[in-house]
Symmetry: C2
């Protein structure tokens, strides 16, 4: 487990953290009672359900995403089907290439993901070596230095090996299944899409989409029309996608069904993929791990502005750079800790088959650096293959501001004279002439001008035919193009919402000094599942109407809140809500009945202020919508005794 | 096609309506370019994508639903996986029973849904008869009166026939495939769930959920715990579900992938399923089509308050009644036309296998009355079967206010004396004694008291054993139960969002008087995809900053808006937005540059007012949030010349 620390600098401990998330029903393994009571364990791994706080947190992240990206830039949101006919994924290349490499244990039949097998065995050996050195054991139990270095270098680029290369590593280092130490068969590809069939006759194969992107691409023509033919523009989609992982692991991080939020930004490939709002983000600082650094077996991060990164061609173009910066700003808004964020460039073999460049936003968690957002340049790949397969043009036609003058050679046959002469060969001649390239036409024109005739080769079965200049003319003409036709390129920022949600929870988890049992989730007010806890000091009936009025007022303002009038102590009720990440608590007491004032408690500091209900509601709204922070509220409203 | 009329009383015409929805990209058949360019037509039917306005409309309906139900009643929202292990659906009964009856054409192999086949053939014959009578044709081409009446009665309860009954109807009336007039094979059941498998070894079957409900049921224990053991409570879930329809048809109304919003309200079955907020809805009027009316072959609606319906036992209980009334209020809020809403009770054979009672909210469309919301009483069915299968108790344990005193017979064996006597038979005796019922124990106690011994029959292979009163005692004791344990019943309102969305669009569609080309969608401001269209009077650059300021202001207030500065005429730009259902238009003109005022146009009346930007923005916010209506705004702000 990598060493990560909580907000207070204490080492992060995953066990109590996971226990909190399950206890408070942020999520649970799906079909948990079936795992306990039956033997469905197999194959049901990698499926998780979100309980009420997890579900609300997810909804708030999605809402923030929609605001930050879709609304901010007038993106065209779509909702496309998950069921997808096989033909579509044959075209996109997913049927052939969307696979992981899998090894089978030769003895117990375990099915293992090949790169994870190599990774875990080498890491285990390095770990063993480290312990041996610390314990000053004999040399024989240690790795020699060159092996150690080799392992480190392999691990630094583990994502870059294809199946045969992984097979070689397995042979070379005698890598075996950690469960039982048996050898494994060579890696074979395993397609990650779930297959089913549609309709009653079972013969029509379909897949569950592994990404939302294809639904957006096949709708490109309608999107462009809806956008009144204006370029560039982006579409966006939020929805579930499915990948049949060989061996799901790492909790919410590698699952078989997950929520994706994807943007497809369609851009003219000419003109260097500039972005008109790039200036707004030019000075945003990013921490980058580029391709060259990784290939050198290193992991050093380079801190620089996105402006510098694009200038130095570390990031290929402005549009890609614009989105990297916007991704950082989005993650920051959610409460991601920036020292646990980096942008890593994909290695060549690691990229999906459709990508020409790709940068991942990775978040540091107790499972290591986790890819949470992928920003891929898919070039014109998808639109091109779908257009080719369906015959439907997926292009942009733009009037040229300056008409384009194209000089070219044109041929003309005198059909009236040709036909009586050539009879059934006429058509063959026409075809051959039409197929002559510009390069072939130039010397042909010269020959025709100089010799008055040219000779055409038709096919092996027909003798060559010679045409005189009374039958054919080849002339140099200037054609004027008023319309420019091109296939847009696509920049795709793709967000794994579940991974972001889990990493965020790790980032905001801590416990109060000196008491590991007093755990807190410091989620920002805008993202927290519930914003306000309303508590009566005691079971006194006079408190009830005040609580309900407050609750209705807050709800009308769109502020989610919960009344806790259970018999638990005030401290226990607040502790429960610290665990749920509820940022504010309002207490109603005898004073409230007398003068209408209430206290407002802030989760992280546990400090309180006291003011009228109107002032407190107003302060909460301002903090939830981000127009004020707690320190400002504390500065202007009177403090209230210790919590 | 049933006769339905638009808001202006003109007959509804589906053709221009559908053309509008496709033209404005509310939705499209999924993979449209593949339908044009390849042969994937088969099996890809029944899949639709929502374009930007459809997607926004769907999001607004979902948001209204969440507010009206989830937030209003503190329901516990879950997000559960769609992939579901086979074992779960075996338990719930879906693997065996979630099927439609299907007939195969004996000649061309067409696969037909049996009830739809019978329905369409009988309807076609009735239609033919009607036309023959109108044309005063000879008697031979008409149906005789008793046949006609029989057809009407069958159609009134078409949903009530099972497979063998449909088979009989097909034989009796010589019903054939309308496509080719061939006879069909007898109906066979066809399971509607999509099947796949999870994990790399392909041997672990799973299904795509056909409803979200099971995910909520299997999480019952955690939900109850999260709710701190308080009953009653409801969970809710919004997500996609899948049904492999035999023959998708009717556009968005019968599709293979659709958005469901489902509530599972868990209630104590004792005490008549009262609802504590029933008083709030008691006087809500509903139009009901109950079971008895349908079985009598009739379709008359009975108008009454839900209070009366529950009193008269037409609707079984308060909780079910409460939700029927709340459903009506919700649909009204969306803009559904109440004269096109009815509640129809399911017939016995029509109900899903898990339901004991069910009422559908049906909406009248050009396809007839369409089930859009189902309110089923699932009793304790689901929790009981899952608990039995997994061995995990899914019950509520409540402390009794009054301890319950239970008188019962108890047995006691003197093991110290028994064992030396019976040796290996001891265990068998213990088991038999433990299994004795209360009914068997009473006479046994009498025998033991009177004769001093009783004889036990153990099994066929062991001789009967006689025990004296020194070995066994049977005594009448009073046990006090402090805890009550019960399995909750479930009332389930289940909303087909796509069907509601489509029906709503039919309800709000009309065209301006005398001009079929000037079409309008009168969606309520809170539901409309875009709230405000911002238009400059001309391309004058001075208008631009005003438009952008207005746009930013509205966006910050959560009001979606769009600037249209295209070169089309003002009339054309407004017409386009009438078709998109945009309720308000703001025009910026020369006057705006001079004094800051702008005009506000209302979609349905096309009337306009003029005021300062602040006043106009304020009026828009009030109308979108429902605190003011257009007529009030018109009453207090100065009118502006004709549009």
């Amino acid at each position: 487990m990598p060493d990560t620390t909580t907000l207070t600098g204490v080492p992060f401990d995953r066990k109590p953290f996971t226990s909190l998330l399950k206890r408070r029903f942020f999520f649970t393994e799906a079909f948990e009672i079936y795992r306990e009571g039956t033997n469905i364990k197999k194959g049901s791994k990698g499926l998780y359900d979100y309980g009420p706080p997890g579900c609300a947190l997810q909804a708030n992240i999605v809402e923030a995403w929609r605001e930050h990206f879709v609304l901010e830039e007038d993106m065209l949101e779509l909702d496309c089907t998950m069921l997808t006919p096989e033909e579509v994924f044959k075209t996109s290349g997913h049927v052939e290439k969307f696979a992981d490499w899998m090894c089978k244990d030769t003895v117990n039949g375990d099915l293992l993901r090949a790169d994870h097998l190599v990774e875990s065995v080498l890491e285990a050996r390095l770990e063993g070596d480290k312990r041996a050195r610390e314990a000053r054991e004999v040399e024989a139990t240690r790795l020699d230095d060159s092996t150690k270095q080799e392992y480190d270098e392999i691990l630094a680029k583990i994502d870059n090996y294809d199946g045969p290369e992984l097979g070689e590593l397995i042979n070379r280092f005698d890598i075996r299944n950690l469960n039982g130490n048996n050898p494994v068969h060579p890696p074979i590809p395993f397609n990650l899409m779930f297959k089913t069939s549609t309709g009653p006759d079972a013969a029509v194969p379909a897949y569950l989409r592994p990404e939302t992107a294809q639904g957006q691409f096949v709708n490109f023509r309608k999107l462009l029309e809806y956008n009144e033919n204006q370029m560039p523009f982006a579409s966006a989609s939020i929805g579930k996608a499915f990948r049949n992982e060989i061996a799901p692991r790492s909790g919410l991080l590698r699952v078989r069904e997950f929520l994706l939020a994807e943007i497809e930004h369609f851009v003219d490939p000419d003109g260097g993929k500039k972005h008109k709002r790039f200036e707004e983000v030019r000075d945003v600082e990013l921490r980058l791990l580029d391709r060259d650094t990784q290939l050198a077996g290193k992991k050093d991060l380079r801190s620089m502005t996105i402006g510098e990164a694009v200038e130095q061609c570390i990031v290929d173009n402005e549009t890609l750079g614009y989105f990297l910066a916007r991704v950082k700003l989005f993650l920051q808004k959610l409460g991601i800790r920036l020292e646990k964020l980096r942008f890593r460039q994909h290695l060549a073999n690691e990229m999906a088959h459709y990508a020409t460049d790709c940068w991942d936003a990775e978040l540091l968690t107790s499972y290591g650096w986790i890819e949470c957002v992928g920003c891929a340049d898919r070039s014109a790949y998808d639109l091109t293959v779908h257009a080719k397969r369906t015959g439907v043009p997926l292009v942009v036609c733009e009037p040229r501001t300056e008409p384009l003058r194209v000089e070219e050679w044109q041929t003309m046959l005198d059909k009236g004279k040709l036909e009586p002469l050539l009879r059934e060969d006429t058509e063959a001649v026409e075809e051959v002439v039409a197929a002559l390239s510009q390069i072939a036409l130039e010397p042909a024109a010269t020959t025709l001008a100089e010799e008055g005739e040219i000779t055409l080769h038709l096919s092996a079965s027909i003798p060559d035919i010679t045409l005189g200049s009374e039958l054919i003319t080849i002339s140099n003409v200037t054609r004027v193009e008023h319309i420019r036709e091109y296939t847009p390129n696509v920049i795709e920022p793709s967000f794994g919402i579940g991974r972001i949600l889990y990493s965020l929870l790790e980032h905001v988890y801590w416990h109060r000094e000196g008491d590991v049992a007093r755990e807190v989730l410091s989620l920002p007010p805008s993202i927290a599942p519930t914003k306000v806890l309303l508590v009566p000091l005691s079971a006194q009936p006079a408190f009830r109407p005040i609580l309900h009025t407050l609750s209705r007022k807050l709800r009308a303002l769109g502020i989610s809140n919960r009344i806790d009038d259970s018999s638990a102590t005030l401290g226990k009720r607040y502790a429960r809500n610290d665990e749920l990440g509820t940022p504010f608590g309002v207490t109603v007491d005898f004073e409230s009945v007398r003068d209408g004032s209430v206290t407002l408690r802030e989760r992280d500091s546990t400090r309180q202020v006291r003011a009228s209900q109107e002032e407190i509601v107003d302060a909460i709204v301002r903090m939830v919508t981000g127009t004020e922070v707690w320190e400002e509220v504390e500065g202007r409203l009177p403090a209230f005794g210790v919590a």
